[in-house]
C-alpha cells in the first residue's frame, strides 16, 4: 500500500446541532458508509464557531477542519449561518493568504435531510486531504526548528 494510502488525515468537523449533525445522523440511519477520519464536534450553531476554534484545531495538529451548518434561511436561529459565512470567509481567506493549502479548510451546508451529502462531503474532504499529507504549518506537534 502506497504512502499516501497509509496516511490518514485527522479532521475536526464542527457541525451545527440542528442541520448538519442531524444530517450526519441521517447518514447513519441510512447506513451510508464514509471514511472515519472526521471527528464531529457538535455546536449549537455555526454562528457560534469562533475563528479561534479553527486556528486552534490546526494548531493542535488537525490536518483538515470542516465547518458545516444549515443552508441559508434554514438556520434554527435564523441568522447564525449568515454570521458564520462572513467569519468563515475571513478565516479561509487568511489561511490561504499565508499559503495554507485551500483544501485544508472547508465549509459546507448540510441540511437534516442530506445524509448522503454529509457522507459525500467527508469522502471528498478525505480524498482532497490525502495528497496534501500531514498539516505542519500551524501544528505545534511538529518538531521545532531552533530559533536564532
Amino acid at each position: 500500500m502506497s504512502e499516501q494510502e497509509a496516511y490518514e488525515p485527522r479532521i475536526i468537523a464542527f457541525l451545527c446541532k440542528w442541520c448538519s449533525s442531524a444530517g450526519s445522523d441521517l447518514a447513519g440511519v441510512s447506513r451510508i458508509q464514509y471514511p472515519a477520519n472526521a471527528t464531529p464536534i457538535t455546536v449549537m450553531c455555526t454562528g457560534a464557531i469562533s475563528p479561534m476554534y479553527i486556528l486552534s484545531a490546526f494548531n493542535k495538529g488537525a490536518d483538515g477542519v470542516l465547518v458545516s451548518g444549515c443552508h441559508l434561511g434554514d438556520c434554527h436561529y435564523m441568522e447564525g449561518n449568515y454570521l458564520a459565512r462572513r467569519k468563515i470567509h475571513l478565516v479561509k481567506e487568511l489561511l490561504e493568504f499565508i499559503g495554507v493549502e485551500p483544501n485544508r479548510f472547508r465549509m459546507s451546508w448540510v441540511s437534516a435531510a442530506e445524509g448522503a451529502k454529509y457522507a459525500q462531503v467527508i469522502k471528498d474532504f478525505v480524498a482532497d486531504l490525502k495528497p496534501l499529507g500531514p498539516q505542519e504549518k500551524l501544528s505545534r506537534t511538529k518538531p521545532e526548528a531552533e530559533h536564532l
Binding site: 486556528l55 459565512r85 493568504f97 499559503g99 495554507v100 451546508w109 504549518k137 500551524l138 530559533h147
Partner: protein
Amino acid sequence: MINLQDLRDTARDLLAKGEARAVIGFRRGSRGMAAEPAFITRPEEADELVWDPTCVHNLALYLVEDRKFLAHNRAAPGLPIAIVAKGCDARAIVVLMQEHYFKREDVYIIGVSCEGTGVVDERKLAVHLNGAVASNAVFDGDDYVFTTVQGEKRLAARDVMADRCLECREPFPREHNAVLGENKTGRELAAPFTALARFETLSATERWTYWERQFDRCIRCFACRSVCPMCFCDECVVDSITFPVTAQTTAEEKANRIRWIERSATRSENITYHMTRAMHLAGRCVDCGECERVCPVNIPLRLLNNKMEREARERFGYEPGASIGGASLVGSFRDEDPGSFIR
C-alpha cells in the same frame, strides 16, 4: 502646508480656556531627528509641540491608556482630552468610539492633514542617507528636507515615505473638532493595497515560504499588540495565563483561562498569534501601520491586516473607521455576502 504656530495656538487655547484637560501631541525627542509623544497640560507647554515627517505615532493609543487609567482609579473623565490626529489616527479614534470605548464628547480631535505627504519610514530613509544620521526633518511641499552633518538633504517624500502613507486612502482626518491643512484625499500616490496586490501574485508555496521566514523571526516582544489602539483588551489570548486580569478575577476564572497560544516563539505559536490578531482586527484595523513600524524584526504585519481590510471592503462593503454608529464587521451580515466557497 500646516503652520506649526496654528497647531500650538490651538493647543494653548484649549488648555488656557479650560476646554481640555490635556493635549496629546508630538514633541522633539532626544533620539536624533525623531519626534516623540507629548502630553501637555499647561498652556505654556504648547510651544513644545511639533509637526514634522517624524510624527509617526498613532496617538489614539494614549486615549485608550487614559481610559484605562481613569477606570483603574474609578475617576470620571471630566474635561475632554485633546489629541493631534492624522487621517489614520482619526479613523482609529472613530473605531474606538464605535466600540463605545469612549464618548465623542470626551475627545477633542485636532486633525492634521497629511496633505501631499505622509510620514517618514526610518528604514527607507537610512538607505537613502547611507550611514549619515539626520538630526532634523521638515515638510516642504511634496518633499522632506533633512539636516545631516553633511548639510541639508532634500528627498521626494514618496521615496522615503512609509508604505502605509503611500497607500493611504484618506490622509485627511474626516472626524475632527479642529483641522489643520488642506483635504488632499485622492492625492496621486500609490493605490491602496498596492503591496498586497503585488504579494498576491505569488503562488501558495511562494507565499508560505515567505511567511514562514517572517514568522520565524518573531521574538514575541508584543510591540505590535502594545502599540495597537485596537488591542485594548485587558486579557489577551497570548498573555501568561498566570496573570490575573483584575483584582476581582476569581480563583476559578484564573484556573480556567484557556491557553490558546503558548508564549514560545515557535513557528506554530507565532503564526497562530499573528493570525488571531489579524482576525481580531478584521473590520477594526484602520491601517495606521504602527504594528509594522514598531516591529524590531521587520515583519510585514500590514499585509495581514490589509488583506482582512480589503476583504471587508470588497466583499462586505465594510469600511472600518467610516462611521461612529453602525454594526461591527463580524457582528453583522448582508444577504449578498459571498458564499461561493461553501459546498
